[in-house]
Amino acid sequence: MLNRRVALAATLGLSLSASLATIALAQAPSGKVTVVTSFSKDVTDPFKKAFEKAVPGVTLEVQNRNTNAGVKYVEETKSNNQVDLFWASAPDAFEVLKGKKLLTAYKPKATGIPEKIGSYPINDPQGFYFGFAASGYGIMWNDRYAKANKLPEPKDWQDLAKPVFYDHVSIASPARSGTTHLTVETILQGEGWEKGWRILKEMAGNFRSITDRSFGVPEAVNSGQVGVGIVIDFFAFSAQASGFPVKFVYPTVTTVVPANVGIIANPPNKAAAEAFIEFLLSPTGQEVLLDPGIRRLPVNPEVYAKAGADYPNPFTDPRFQKMIGFDVDKSEARTAVVDTLFDQLISFQLDALKGVTKTLHEVDAALAKKPNPQAKALADEARNLIAALPVNQVQAGSPELRGAFTGAKEKGARQAEIESQWASFARDNYAKAKAKAEEALKAAK
């Protein structure tokens, strides 16, 4: 019944947009407002309906593109821009747009929205984009899969490095998914550069797959192809709302990060674009987030009064208060380096990494039965080899390295050169680690 109504609304909206497209007044919001978004129909349809009801005379034209394609699209069409708004999760996409001067600054009039959620600023300090919903990162798992494979319930990132989770965990590549990038960065900031990478690589030894799009992970967990996934919370909540047998937990080291909206530079319908932002930030707009198909965390604390008791509230829930401080500038300076490190040390060397990890798990099992200091020492050596990094924290944030990835104008190392160095570093270390681990296994048996 509800579905049919949504479909009807969408059809009505379409015919309206056709008739209203011709009317374009300068000031009062009216006519067609075009938004490029990475959000699915389940998110955009309820918003479109509520927005068109709240601001009569304006129709919302939704262009669905994945975040990457959306950024490229806005960039390529800037000479004759037809898009009013960009609406997506990943803050880094907005940073790129801002850096290329493709966004318009605006000052929202909406009240009741705090400066920060957790420790993350809700709006861009320069006023180019605005958080309208928050999301936290965590671990999602398929209950049926977990029962069949006798997996315990994971509580923290470190749990995923345990032998029992070998070959059961999935993640999206941080280079491809802005949200996963933030998860990785959160772990690195929360645990420190060295220890953070150690944990990441130990977890990665248990990875089943590294997908190339964010939704690939929840999709695989929903259908039971993979047991456990590292995902953004609403993927799990909306899957639960659709009836999938999945569960979700926020680990101790995590953060909540806003999903954003911003006005494109030189928008064809500025008034309506501003109206859409005001609507998103208004209580009515914020309440749409509670829709079971959307399930994102509103940025207006008052709206939680209308949510159910079990709805996570980052403004009151002690779990979120503990969450670590997230340094946006630090993250920003090393985005490309972190992503490339992840790809070169983990994604493209996954088979080697998994091979060593498997042997190390076997060593651990043997040691649990019969302690052996020599084998333990060898295994630790192997673990250190795996955890070793080709760059330290300072280098990672250095402008030289950054320049190699972002197409700096000055001469310097080419990305391909650096990648190649890192890849051989990882390959050599994993091979050495594998030899040590084999030795340890022999000693332990």
Partner: protein, 572 residues
Amino acid sequence: MTAVPTLTPPRARRFAATPGQIALALAIAAFLLMFLVLPVATVIYVAFTDKGTSTFTLVNFYDFFRTELFMRSLWNSFYVSAMSVVWASVFALPLAYLTTRFVFRGAALVQTLGFLPLIMPPFVGAVAMQLFFGRNGSVNLLLDDWFGFKIDFMEGLNGVIFVQSIHYFPFILINLSAALRNVDRAMEEAAQNLGSSGFRLFRRIVFPLAMPGYLAGASLVFVKVFDDLATPLLLNVKDMLAPQAYLRVTSIGIADPMGYVISVVLIVASVAAMWLSARALKGRDYATTQRGGGGLAKRVMTPWEAVLGYGTVILILALVLAPHLGLLLLSFATIWSFAPLPDAYTLAHYGRVFGESSVYIKNTLIYASLAGGIDIVLGVAIAYLVLRTKLIGREWLDWMASAALAIPGVVLGIGYLRTFYGVTLPDGTPLASLWITIVLALAIRRLPYALRACYAALQQISVSLEEAAENLGATKSRTVRRVVVPLMAGGILAGFVTSFSTAAVELSATLMLVQSNSDAPLAYGLYVFMQSAAGRGPGAALGVVAVILVAACTFLSHLIIERSQKAKGLGH
């Protein structure tokens, strides 16, 4: 001529083309330059520039060949493509042979069903395939339950080979079937009179004569697998070339030329493969003159042969259609998670897509038929120019068009935006925002399919028929219209069907170019659904609609082929 045998012929040949043919060649070249070479060049020129400056350099290629990951990817891509051709042939040969060589009830149905795997809607097809063959798919859950083991159908490179050969074997099936139908019965009868029969007859006479069709299909499979990024990414195999290019081109904020370098390597490799397959046929004549009998003699199977034949066909069809069955189940499923079958069934998903799908269906039909139409016109023209004229550089038309196969859709999409968005109509709308741009992008992307089919068809027609027509006073254009095109009909239809149906489910370029929901094709609608848990069912429903739509069109065209064969006076 015979007096000066060695030196003059090339010179004499140069002027063997009529002005009309030259004009046609120039027009096609202009079209390809405008809508393929130019847009792509605006994007991939970065591969040849130095970092920081814009000076020309080849250092990026040096980097490419020095990087272990890329070398490994290159080798993996070759291996997977070659093995996929082998397996695709294993699936395609029996289906093609049995349905064309024997009196086979439901041949059109088999041909249609055997064609379906090519129409795998994006995203949702992948989900369905995982639900069936994945590590915890129906097959493996049941195997594990009953026998305590699992088969890794979809793991690593072998998984890619498995999925690719299922997905693309119809290229061989459709081209080979068209070629088998074109083999002159007189050849077969002559061989039989000389005492050849059974498998030997097939191996020595029938199959070699159908070689152009087989090679057209096999080279398409090879190049398509080489350039395909969707399947490896779905199986999370990243060390192949096409996914590497895609991952780099579409990462935000990274200004690395490597993605484009890989694209150039892909294009070169694809054109080389096409060139090789053309070389393989060079110097041999596959044309047969007498077409009065029209196609192979159809034999009646003995009961045992029938059991074997139908058994093989059913087995192959069951395997290659399992993903579609999975898709169908998914579209009716409430929740399907870690179980051999869905928990319960519902019609709600179809209800949800019912209202909006009509606009998608309409757009898909318009776009795909226009694209298919453009493709066969270009395909026939290029094939004719390459095979029947001596124009200088005519092969370049073929290679240019074939290169389209290697260009990632997203690169073409970006190229179109870059080239045509600045161009505006009088009222200020950008040229690139018109839906015709989508049609052109689809036509360019699917042109190689139609081209190969037309090319193979023309290779099987003897030039003496045209000469006869011209001797009787027909002009060149009249000969083409009244003799060549009718004789090529089977191949042209095969080309249209392949282009049409694959264009109907194309997404990567479309996603870049779609401007509004009212201009969107089915694949885009599917994409919009498939990004959320609740959208899986409706997405599958839309996928089923797409498959049925394309299947209906395909079935129709097979009926037409059969009718026309009968009309030609096929006795049996």
